[in-house]
Amino acid sequence: MTVSQPHRYTLANGLRVVLAPDDTAPVVGVSVHYDVGFRSEPEGRTGFAHLFEHLMFQGSESLEKLAHFRHVQSSGGTFNGSTHPDYTDYFEVLPSAALERALFLEADRMRAPKLTEENLRNQIDVVKEEIRLNVLNRPYGGFPWILLPPVLFDTFPNAHNGYGGFEDLEQATVADCAAFFDTYYAPANAVLTVAGDFTVEAAKELIERHFGDVPARPRPQRPSFAEPPPTTEVRADHPDPLAPLPAVAIGYRIPDPIDELDAYLAYLVLAGVLTDGDGSRLQQRLVYGDQLVTEVSAGCGMFGPFEARDPDTFTITAMYSPEVALDPVLAAIDEELERLASTPPDQAELAKITARWAASLHKEHDRIVSRTLALGAFELLYGNPSLVYELPERISAITPDAVSAAAKALRPDSRAILTVTPSGGAE
């Protein structure tokens, strides 16, 4: 891709900065990634990282409640935030005239957020509505991202529900918020990214002006979340009164996405070989050939690749008719994996995956939101935002043997199987 390398530097307070100027459209993206996600929340406080993300929008020293939203939107911009296993991001996309405003807003809440009892109670209610909307009141709520981890993992950080239980959310206190902020929201634990229509000199000056006096605090020690893979096949069932059809999620452990990137990318290519497009192996076998399932998909990460450190998950999910038994579905998947393990795919098959990845990365780059967030996430996770632009080449270099080896490592005797069983009875 014909883009210049992003500029990287670090402020005196430890805040890492990524600047990616590009004048194709008069818009800018600004994001801040904090190096804390729901894997870091304490026991008894499930859902706290996400709840805290909501609170970061509730005002800061210079901004009354609601002011953040109004200032972004009255500048013609949009905003959001999201909580991931290993980081939490906040972003704005705006006409380029509003760059300084966005920097001001992010700096103000990095320096001095207003964490009040009233806002905490209000956002606990809002988050509970979010959970009712996305989990409790709908079929397949939390499938598989909430339901599969406790089957595949044993330790609290990896296994627990990142949305949180209502009882835990309700017990959250302002003191918890203050401690969480002081520990994890230090500038040295964050990455600021600016992408789009600006000049590097002007942006650097504005960033120093607004973030330069955010007081330094120590960067927290990042714990290891490592745990051994399962030594057997672990199964669990989740009865879902709202679901009309059974579904299954199969979870496998995969190589460390950071330290073993090429090995990890082999699984990304494998996911494409298995389920990307009508010509892929599992679509052909399960959907069109044996007609065992209605839909099947495979991928790395519970929300997509490149948003978690080790341990990460390879997931295959399928939805199937109640007349179909689970075992033939599993047997067909295992057979296809064995076929790939014994005979590597040919180059032509991989060329399809490579071209589609190149195209999807172009599309991601074209949307300024996703471009900004990807650069920030790659700085945070890899210390290398340029890796975003190197991915097509890295992916195209994955060999058939590597894909074959990845398939071989998805062993039936070391995986989690979570089924969703309709339990609503006949209507």
Binding site: P26, Q73, K114, R132, L133, D197, G279, Q291, S360, I368
Partner: protein, 451 residues
């Protein structure tokens, strides 16, 4: 080092002033060709070479009044990309994949939509595969049978989702059995569809005349149109694609409650008659709608989410059909606060209708409308979808380009007039889906009809 929340929220310097906006650079002029081919297909090509990709959006008016139309159309959309005389489904996917491409098809009561993208270097391949599907889709018995079976399961899943249940209930409540309501066919009707029916529908209704193809990306518009013209030369038909029959004007009325036993949340869906984008009052109404519930900093969100915590989301938004428009208000709330949320929605409707919004509020929504148009059209995919949505209403890229000027010209007084005319709570009708056993408080506030 452990600070209290109060210590965290204060610095020595104290609150700081909001920086002013800088100088805004205008978007570069779009290079556009908007033309109608010999076969009656309108083609709009826009040059936006931000990345070496190209986006396609084909919209074919695809209405039908026959009760069998909707299920047959669903099967057609599911099977149109499953094989042609010269390519089977795998060959289609493989050709597209090798140029980083994808194509998808979907249908609704108004339109058959085919869309996709590819590396710009694969534009010809993308067009070739699209043309092949349009002119030579075979709908083999096997593929149709498979797609029907999967469609039936997808329909079953869709119909179990609260937002779908609410949408269906709202459609029935608003328009009875008008074809516009047939958004998701009955599984039993899909089961009756034969492959011969699908082939006949394709022959009769997948027509270029009246349809529009939008191309956005790293392809010169003149070349894009030439490419489309050559690739789709064999796509012909004398008749025009079928446009949805006009909808009857909405009748205001009580909200109908639909029982969903065991639900932990209720879907509140309100609707009222509105105006098309070409109406001179539209820019003012657009701004009034934003102020009411069209973005996060709106009255509805600030009230029922940020103040009361009744909901995660609330919004009001327009829905356009070729000859009309409606306003919709959506929110989902816990059962025990459903009545209170409805009360607040009615309060906000009445307030915006009765009390003129401040100039400053109008400026906020105006800036948001202009700015979000800029950001949402800065990507190829975003621009392609916007242009396609306008094109099916008979509008072109010029409407998009000139819209910021229209928004700038709107006065606060015009916004107040639009709000008074369109947001009076007595103009609305709608549905509430939830657990009736928990919704008794609704009887206190009236305007609600229980099953």
């Amino acid at each position: 080092m452990s600070r209290t929340a109060e210590q965290i929220g204060r610095t020595e310097l104290g609150p700081r002033p909001l920086p002013p906006l800088g100088e805004q650079r205008a978007a570069t002029n779009l290079s556009v060709v908007d033309t109608v081919l010999d076969n009656g297909l309108r083609v709009i090509a826009v040059h936006q070479p931000t990345v070496p990709m190209v986006e396609l959006r084909l919209r074919v008016p695809f209405a039908g009044t026959d009760p069998a139309h909707a299920p047959t159309a669903e099967v057609l959309a599911a099977a149109i990309l499953t094989g042609t005389k010269s390519r089977d489904r795998v060959a289609m996917d493989t050709e597209l994949a090798l140029v980083g491409g994808e194509l998808n098809a979907a249908v609704d009561p108004e339109l058959l939509s085919l869309g996709g993208n590819a590396l710009a270097s694969g534009f010809d391949t993308l067009l070739t595969v699209l043309a092949d599907a349009l002119t030579a889709a075979t709908y083999t018995d096997d593929e149709v049978a498979g797609e029907k079976a999967r469609l039936i399961e997808r329909i079953t899943v869709a119909r179990s989702k609260p937002n779908v249940i609410a949408r269906q209930a709202l459609q029935r409540h608003r328009y009875g059995d008008h074809p516009f309501t047939r958004e998701i066919p009955e599984a039993a009707d899909v089961a009756k569809v034969e492959s011969a029916d699908v082939r006949a529908l394709h022959q009769a209704a997948v027509l270029p005349r009246g349809a529009v193809l939008v191309v956005v990306g790293d392809v010169e518009p003149v070349k894009a149109v030439a490419g489309v013209s050559a690739a789709l030369a064999d796509w012909r038909g004398d008749a025009s694609a079928a446009v949805l029959p006009p909808l009857p004007p909405l009748t205001p009325g009580d909200l109908l409650v639909i029982d969903r036993p065991g639900a932990v949340q209720s879907q509140i869906r309100l609707s009222a008659q509105s105006i098309t984008r070409t109406d001179p009052r539209y820019p003012a109404l657009q701004l009034a709608n934003l102020a009411l519930g069209g973005f996060f900093s709106s009255r509805l969100v600030e009230n029922i989410r940020e103040d009361k915590g009744y909901t995660y989301h609330a919004r009001s938004y327009p829905e356009f059909t070729p000859d009309g428009a409606t306003l919709l208000i959506d929110t989902d709330t816990a059962s025990d606060v459903t009545a209170a949320a409805l009360l607040e929605i009615r309060y906000e409707l009445a307030r915006i209708a009765l009390v003129a919004p401040e100039e400053s509020e109008v400026d906020i929504v105006r800036q948001y409308a202009i700015g979000s148009l800029l950001t949402s059209t800065s990507s190829q995919g975003g621009l392609a979808s916007q242009v396609a949505a306008l094109a099916v209403l008979g509008l072109g890229v010029d409407w998009l380009v000139n819209h910021p000027e229209r928004l700038k010209a709107v006065t606060a007084e015009q916004v107040a007039e639009a709000a008074a005319e369109f947001f009076a709570p007595t103009r609305f009708t709608g549905v509430i889906v939830g657990d009736v056993a928990k919704l008794a408080p609704l009887t206190c506030i009236g305007g609600v009809r229980f099953p």
